[in-house]
């Protein structure tokens, strides 16, 4: 039985001709009806992920990678279709952005760790390890507002790598920190993989996908256009990019 089952998932965003975000704008615009354009981000996506697999998700900007990831993690609801998960998921999404700037590293780690499903005892036990992983022991009691973006991103990865439950979901991993930190992340990743954790990785980087994943899917225009061995999918992605180069920019995903 697959651990995660994505069944004909579709997701569209309604893009209005004019953005109205306030009551004032809605009242003033009451006589000017807006037109809505539907942006189909995912269109009947189906895939299965088995226990212990490492699956890469590739695709250009706007191909629906991040949306698919959020649907799998249960952060976005699909319009149609169904996602069934039979395991606890630890998502590492948009790390580095999203801390409480008024709290120090220790409190932020407690906050994010408990959101990710760890008990306070477990977080306190791994606190030193987390801070050491991020090389931030000296700044443990510094408020996050004084952190650089690199420091806070490192802290994010450190928490999430410690907080891994059954499934680890990584969005643009290994794009943070210096060579030493990246190597530590890669080392930890291999360790988790060898322990039998299931991992889903989203990346633009063909090297990362072919090195760290057994299998990969290629998304384009909200469809899965290829599902196979990661190296083959990475090659297809590169050839798709070279083929498409010069045909202009795509939207953001």
């Amino acid at each position: 039985m697959p651990l995660i089952e994505v069944d004909k998932v579709s997701k569209a965003f309604r893009i209005p001709s004019v953005h109205r975000q306030t009551i004032r704008e809605h009242l003033l615009g009451v006589l000017e009806p807006r037109r809505f354009q539907s942006l189909q981000v995912l269109d009947g996506v189906s895939m299965e992920i088995r226990r212990g697999e490492t699956v890469g998700i590739m695709g250009r900007n706007g191909s629906g990678k991040s949306t698919l990831l959020k649907v799998i993690c249960g952060i976005f609801l699909p319009d149609q279709g169904r996602v069934s998960t039979r395991a606890a998921i630890t998502p590492i999404l948009e790390l580095g952005v999203g801390w409480n700037p008024d709290l120090d590293a220790v409190d932020n780690v407690l906050l994010i760790g408990s959101v990710m499903g760890l008990s306070l005892q477990q977080i306190r036990r791994s606190m030193n390890e987390i801070l050491a992983f991020a090389e931030l022991e000296r700044f443990a009691n510094l408020k996050l507002m004084h952190y650089s973006s690199g420091m806070s991103a490192r802290l994010g990865y450190a928490v999430a790598f410690q907080a891994v439950r059954e499934v680890l979901v990584l969005d643009e991993i290994f794009a943070v920190g210096d060579v030493g930190f990246r190597e530590r992340c890669e080392e930890r990743y291999r360790q988790l993989k060898s322990l039998g954790h299931t991992v889903i990785v989203v990346s633009h980087d063909p090297r990362i996908i072919s090195t760290f994943c057994d299998r990969a899917v290629l998304l384009d225009g909200g469809h899965i256009v290829m599902d196979g061995v990661s190296a083959d999918v990475a090659d297809r992605y590169v050839s798709m990019l070279t083929h498409q180069s010069g045909s202009g920019q795509s939207g953001s995903g």
Binding site: T22, K70, G74, I75, L77, L111, M116, S119
Partner: protein, 267 residues
């Protein structure tokens, strides 16, 4: 095989009867810490605002209502209850926006983010309740046990209203980003609509019904009735208050239930 099973066992598998207790505690604690800089001094400092308000209003309006010996007691009861209502609804309204970074991280029951945002206001209300009781004792209005139980029930009803409002407003704020400004105006007008600085009796009887439609009014009036005057409100009054609180809470839960599943898309 067992080693793999052990490794695959969720790290966070210690699922107690209430799995989010750790999250709730951390949210309450960090909220308190961030707001009051983690010190008792910071908390006391925050209490100064309504206390100063009380001193100033008492100084000015005691002259106006000099004929009413209970004016000070009525003022302190009204003002502190209003402070909870204002602070609680304001933090509740902004809660999902302010804690949105947690919403986009993992799947958590988002109502926790809203309800814990009111915790600070609730702590303040607890402290103020003690201040009110102390004030009553000093002025020779020692409240009966019955009166204290009734007052606790009114506080619970007010909390239910604040939670109901916050649940609805927090998801609506993500769609209407000036809702906080509108609410500020409503609160400002509401301060005068509720009989806080003036006794309700100075208004003609025929308007009382309309004032009672504003949820803080019955809470404040009933609390004064039991604590200051020592008179228990009628059963009809209590039924009205209970229905008022329940309908605020149910309406809030309904709006939240409809809109919150897509809240992450509006962040």
């Amino acid at each position: 095989m067992e080693a793999v099973a052990e490794a695959l066992r969720p790290v966070g598998a210690r699922r107690a009867a209430f799995p989010h207790a750790g999250l709730i505690w951390t949210l309450v604690r960090t909220d308190f810490k961030a707001r009051y800089h983690g010190t008792l001094g910071g908390f006391v400092w925050a209490l100064l605002k309504p206390v100063c308000m009380f001193v100033v209003l008492m100084g000015v309006f005691s002259f106006l209502f000099a004929s009413k010996p209970e004016y000070k007691l009525n003022l302190i009861v009204g003002l502190f209850l209003w402070d909870f209502f204002g602070e609680g609804t304001k933090s509740g309204l902004m809660s999902l926006h302010a804690r949105g970074f947690l919403l986009s991280k993992a799947r958590i029951p988002s109502w926790i983010l809203v309800v814990t945002a009111i915790s600070n206001a609730m702590i303040t209300l607890g402290v103020f309740s003690l201040v009110i009781v102390a004030f009553l004792l000093v002025t020779g209005h020692a409240p009966t046990g019955e009166a204290l139980v009734a007052f606790a029930m009114y506080c619970a009803a007010l909390t239910a209203m604040v939670i109901g409002f916050s649940l609805a407003a927090s998801v609506l704020f993500l769609r209407y980003r000036d809702l906080n400004q509108v609410w500020e105006v409503v609160l400002q007008a509401g301060f005068f609509l509720a009989p806080i600085i003036y006794p309700l009796e100075i208004l003609p009887e025929r308007f009382h019904f309309y004032l009672y439609l504003w949820p803080p009014t019955p809470i404040i009036e009933f609390s004064r009735s039991v604590l200051v005057r020592g008179v228990m409100p009628t059963t009809t009054g209590h039924v009205y208050l209970a229905l008022d609180a329940i309908s605020c809470l149910v309406a809030g839960i309904f709006i939240f239930w409809r809109l919150s599943p897509r809240a992450a898309e509006y962040l």
